[in-house]
Symmetry: C2
Subunit: 421 residues, 2 copies
């Protein structure tokens, strides 16, 4: 079997699983319990959180553990405050973020007892901006909040002109993934945060205290990019264990001191009240080791995938490379115009090769890729596009073998179609 | 080490861990992917959900997997519809539940595009009823929704008179845990659901179509009670893997056809859109095995714990048993009035015995037990109460040994206090 779909799932690495095992049946205590063995588990948990945080240049206290990237993305959007522009300092007071009602905001008065609700129409205008090529977990929540999409250029990069034109005095949150999950394009977050910084300064001059936060879903990035939240200038950053050879069901959200969040679930008050529920200790221990391993092999993996990518581009035939520039070396989107990628997946599977047409959750619904559409591919080009994502399960031998298999399948398929005509 | 705190955490059983292992590094595929190995993982996942559902007399399609009981409890409360009483059939239409704003409801109009919000003051009056002794994950969300607590009797059982008196025409959701997490008291859910059924019939006669749902947190119950949702008459039931020798970070919510829920997180649309995010396959596989094992050893464990409990009650000295009746045999709350339970925990720990003062998450915050207060214990009685919860790690030898240790620690402590006077 040659697995080339590492962007949709990665196996848990040996080191990660080894680190997790003691926490299932031996170090199983509830981290909130009073006795020492439980306190030791809590200490290990906090140390693991520290490792995850340090890998992005943050402290353990800056991150909240979630059940995955989807929850972390949803949690990031609770940072929205709502309300209208004001020149007094009231918006600097720790107001609670509003709760979205699906198609409008309800803003809470500061006094908790008050049973009053305010609808703030103004806060609907570009309060939320998100890149049109974001993953469903960002798109869905952004749309619910009346968010406005930011265009991408034909190369998949953010259209900075479009971004600038859409930031209003009402804009509070801008969500741009660091690496796109379908085409692997790396977005220029540092540039975006520079633009945001300038707007913040200009807002302050005009006495506008409204927040302007940058959120980024870095789910796909952690094992090939050296991430530092200060360098990137992000206020909120989503991390995902399942994409970097860690366990499924674990993620994290980095939260800067400028962002004030609201819990999605209430209860025992774990994670400083932002995410109640008994801690998933083995999951977080595993996640932390996965992060450390990712950091350790960053450069080695980059070189390896660059080499593999070159082999594929050189030896494969009759394709058009969709993601030519600024994308991770383990991401290749190959367009075989006129062919049916869905069919190719099954033909390749028969030969032991596993690829995809894009995001697994979208693919399963038979939805046509909104990402490929956004970068200007025609319907037939989209229908003929395969996503190949390299990973640690791949060897150079596999890559040479897979190019042969893909070429054969493609020519057989083209031949079949010619005969059919 | 003698561990007597199984209500706060249980070790993952050998069988459970063995069943989980293949799904970390071998069967690691994303259940949403298109190729067969991934479809096989999805099938295994669905089969596991089926086992969990069947154990409570439900179908796989009736349950939603969550990251734990806390999330499941929070999800259950999204069933609230809000709005005012009506005699027409409009409330029977599939309206979306409202989103709570912390201190009031906002109800969404049916037309999605509409940016309108409605505040419904009336819906604040007893729309939500919850037992005053519920776990924090129920109390916190219920309080946020302006819920009204239902009293318990001195024995910890629900005060049915108080319940009946508090159900209004506005009441939509009643939350009563099957087994209390601090004193193990089993609530008469079948009786409660009979009362609810009568009220529903009476409401229908008067043309009131408002829903009246019964939610129960069964986190502590699954390994000692034979649970059947129809027999209990619940509309929403919370299950917890971490309390029945399954992995942490996994739970489930049973949802009857009468309940309409709203997702807490949006995204890829997993779990029928009610709980997006890549499925935690190993976790759910483990949970399903834990459920099967719990069912298999139900009667054996009951007998074992009844025997252990008798030994403890016979051999221990100078205590007052707090939970005398209607409680699970593995729960003992021992009150040593005049002593400091916090101190006893440390003294017992020095002798290798691990007990608690109550809910771990509450204990960690040094909060005095709201449960023991609710059943009428004085502050000094609460301060002197230990929670002992038996489990599969315990042997009869341990129980005999622990009674000696506890008796010694108690008499030493009483002696010390006398000398101090």
């Amino acid at each position: 079997m040659i697995y080339l779909d590492h962007a949709s799932s990665t196996p848990v690495s040996e080191k990660v699983l080894k680190a997790m095992l003691p926490y299932f049946s031996e170090e199983f205590f509830n981290p909130s319990s009073a006795y020492l063995p439980a306190k030791k588990v809590l200490a290990d948990y906090e140390e693991a959180k520290g490792k995850i945080a340090h890998s992005i240049g943050a402290k353990a206290s800056d991150i909240v553990i979630t059940a995955g990237a989807t929850e972390a993305n949803n949690l990031a959007f609770t940072s929205i405050q709502g309300g209208s522009i004001t020149n007094d300092s009231s918006t600097l007071e720790p107001t609670r973020p509003p709760v979205f009602t699906g198609d409008s905001f309800c803003r809470r008065r500061l006094d908790d007892g008050e049973h009053a609700l305010e609808l703030d129409e103004s806060s609907v205008s570009n309060t939320v901006l998100y890149l049109e090529t974001e993953h469903d977990s960002v798109r869905a929540i952004a749309k619910r909040l009346g968010g406005t999409p930011i265009k991408v250029l034909k190369n998949g990069m953010i259209d900075l002109k479009d971004l600038k034109s859409k930031i209003t005095n009402e804009t509070e949150l801008i969500s741009v993934s660091l690496v796109n999950n379908e085409i692997g394009v790396i977005q220029p977050l540092a540039e975006i945060s520079t633009i945001i910084r300038e707007i913040k300064i200009e807002r302050l001059k005009r006495g506008i205290k409204r927040q302007l936060l940058l959120h980024s879903d870095a789910s796909q990035a952690l094992n090939l990019l050296d991430i530092n939240v200060s360098r990137l200038g992000v206020d909120l950053l989503t991390l995902n264990s399942a994409k970097i050879y860690g366990p499924k069901g674990v993620g994290a959200l980095y939260i800067s001191h400028d962002a004030r969040l609201k819990p999605l679930v209430l209860g025992g008050g774990q994670e400083k009240g932002l995410r109640s529920g008994t801690e998933n200790v083995p999951g977080v221990i595993g996640f932390s080791v996965a992060v450390e391993e990712a950091k350790k092999h960053l450069n080695g993996n980059r070189k390896k995938y660059a080499k593999f990518k070159k082999i594929l581009l050189d030896e494969l035939q009759g394709y058009k490379l969709v993601n030519r520039k600024n994308s991770l070396d383990n991401f290749l989107v190959l367009c075989y115009d006129g062919l049916d990628a869905e069919r190719l997946i099954f033909l390749l599977e028969e030969r032991g090769v596993y690829v995809s047409t894009g995001a697994a959750c979208a693919a399963s619904k038979g939805v046509r890729s909104h990402v490929l559409k956004a970068i200007g591919l025609s319907d037939s080009e989209i229908a003929g596009s395969l996503r190949v994502t390299l990973g640690e399960t791949n060897t150079e031998e596999q890559i040479h073998e897979v190019t042969k298999i893909i070429n054969e399948v493609i020519s057989e398929e083209r031949g079949r179609l010619l005969r059919a005509v």
